[in-house]
Subunit: 358 residues, 2 copies
């Protein structure tokens, strides 16, 4: 199963993750939902303190689970040791592995993921096992049901570190208990335009939620995309955490939609102008940075969400937000590119991809 | 001949001046050339000191010249008293009358011009008669020959104020002597980009040349367009003034072309990007100010001049530079427009006009 590396990476370059399809509940504001579970194998030290043999043991246990279970038979498996820094960066852009995973240098780090790129399991990250499931729109309950089943399948063959008092034991105490983090990626251009985003982000932080950018932890909020996730993992059940997060996101969606209505009725022409200018630049620029591309794609997306421009789908725009990232561009051409080369390649790609539509 | 006002204005809205055709010598840098002669009728006080009867007398003398001469038979004649402020502003945008002419409030101000909009005669402006001839490219000698003939035709029926020592007498001493001003409109984006324009403008001013913007005296240099004209009218013959101006313009053209070559070899991709971005914005914006339109048209023109974008002609861009002006836009729709309405109308017009090409 391991080591058809070239083939796997090649197909990853061509494929577009299913969770970027722009569908699902509240998809005019909610790009995607995600749940991640942190698990560790009983009686093996956490990754940061484990020796090579212990890491290998974790690796083999998880590998066995996936090799022996029919539902995982079509999954891909990549060992990070065998990947170049560019290829690893590409996996983070694809949201298959975390940014932290790049920084680590322990052996037997690997990543298992399905063809749709919705499910991925990191082995020997901060915790022995990190399971992540992504879906388009606000779909946390459905995701929870599905990831819970996968978790059960793994647990059949691996004994998790678990204590009845604390719940799942995790390397970092912030993940203790459920070991669960739910997160929702929201597109909030109207709240940004109306200068209301800061107040909302502050309030979220006060009630125990973290806000991150498009590419997860450590990334800046580009393209008016905000990923909101629970900080609290202890003292509440998984269902309660999810319920709270859903309620919160729905409130933010209502506020975003209200501001959109306000803008639409007061400055509709200006919004049309912003939308078409973004389109004009994306369709014509010859050099474009990723930050600018994200900002323009966000403006265009806003126009699509408000029905100000025809024929462009949010699915295409979601996909483009991944495709304009630096590692993807280099994977497409199969070699490393300097800044100007990337900016040229990015402009060419965006022009071509959007050209298919209008 | 006078007073088919509505008809004349209507056809002026539709027609495009011949001197904007983007042709003629050195037309990749030189938009147009212009010569203006200042003349006064003998034994009648200058306009500023003339009474109504005297102004009427001037008006009638000139009118008679044009009525009785077959070569002027197809000329249009508009009395400024009968025009609205918007219509007068429209004539200045068309370069048929001067901006000063708007500010004046004496009677019998009028303007005679040909169908091609290359020749115009202002009556009772600062001087009794101001004759102006425009042509595309660097064509001062040809213009001089033509305007000299027209001047002779007028002189057959009107006795000019002339003294053998001082030459033609003019209201303002700066026009004394030849009463001639030659001017050349240059598009100098490379000298602007390379921060060399200031030094050149300073040098020009030191050696007795004035520099103005696109719309003549008092207008800012928009769209990297600079109109250079002689200040000196006395002590040199018309031919010498013209020779000097031609020599000077050729030098500037060489410098502009050198900087274009430098830019082309060092930052070609960036120039392509600038060009296509300008095109993308002009083809897609829904709201656009005249200043922005001029700046974008200049960038696009630069791309056309460097052959970085196909199918767009400098003729079309020259015409658009007039068509994006505020009075023209209002004349097209036949009513006054506020700022936002103009910006919307301008964007619609530019989109449509450029859409015909690519």
């Amino acid at each position: 199963m391991i080591d058809r590396k070239e083939k796997i990476l090649k197909s990853l370059v061509k494929s577009r993750a299913n969770w970027l399809n722009g569908k699902g509940p509240l998809s005019n504001v909610v790009v995607s939902s995600r749940i991640r579970l942190a698990r560790n194998i009983n009686n093996i030290p956490f990754t940061s303190r484990a020796n090579k043999m212990e890491l290998e043991k974790v690796f083999k246990i998880v590998q066995k689970v996936f090799n022996e279970n029919a539902i995982f038979s079509h999954f891909n498996h990549l060992l990070l040791d065998k990947l170049s820094p560019l290829e690893i960066q590409f996996l983070t852009e694809k949201n298959l592995i975390s940014r932290d995973f790049i920084q680590m240098n322990n052996s037997y780090r690997s990543c298992i993921f399905n063809r749709k790129e919705t499910l991925s399991i990191m082995i020997n990250e901060e915790d022995h096992i990190r399971i992540q499931l992504l879906s388009a729109g606000l779909q946390l309950k459905k995701i929870w049901k599905a990831i819970n089943e996968i978790d059960d399948e793994i647990e059949k063959k691996a004994i998790y570190a678990f204590q009845s008092q604390e719940g799942y034991l995790t390397s970092c105490p912030t993940n203790l208990g459920t070991g669960m983090r739910g997160s929702v990626m929201l597109h909030l251009p109207a709240l940004v335009m109306q200068n209301r985003i800061e107040e909302i982000l502050k309030a979220l932080s006060k009630i125990g939620y973290a806000v991150r950018g498009f590419s997860g932890e450590g990334s800046k909020a580009m393209g008016n995309l905000f990923q909101i996730s629970n900080q609290l993992t202890l003292g509440l059940s998984e269902e309660e955490i999810i319920e709270n997060l859903i309620r919160l996101c729905k409130k933010i969606v209502i506020q975003e939609n209200n501001e959109r209505k306000n803008l639409f009725s007061s400055v509709r022409k200006e919004l049309e102008d912003r939308t078409w200018r973004a389109y004009g630049l994306l369709r014509n620029a010859r050099i474009i940075s990723s930050t600018e591309a994200m900002a323009l794609l966000s403006k265009l997306r806003f126009g699509v969400e408000l029905d100000l421009i025809p024929k462009i789908s949010t699915c295409k725009l979601n996909q483009l937000m991944q495709m304009v990232q630096p590692a993807y561009l280099q994977m497409v051409v199969g070699r490393s590119l300097d800044k100007l080369e990337r900016d040229l390649q990015r402009a060419t790609l965006v022009r071509k991809e959007l050209g298919k539509y209008i």
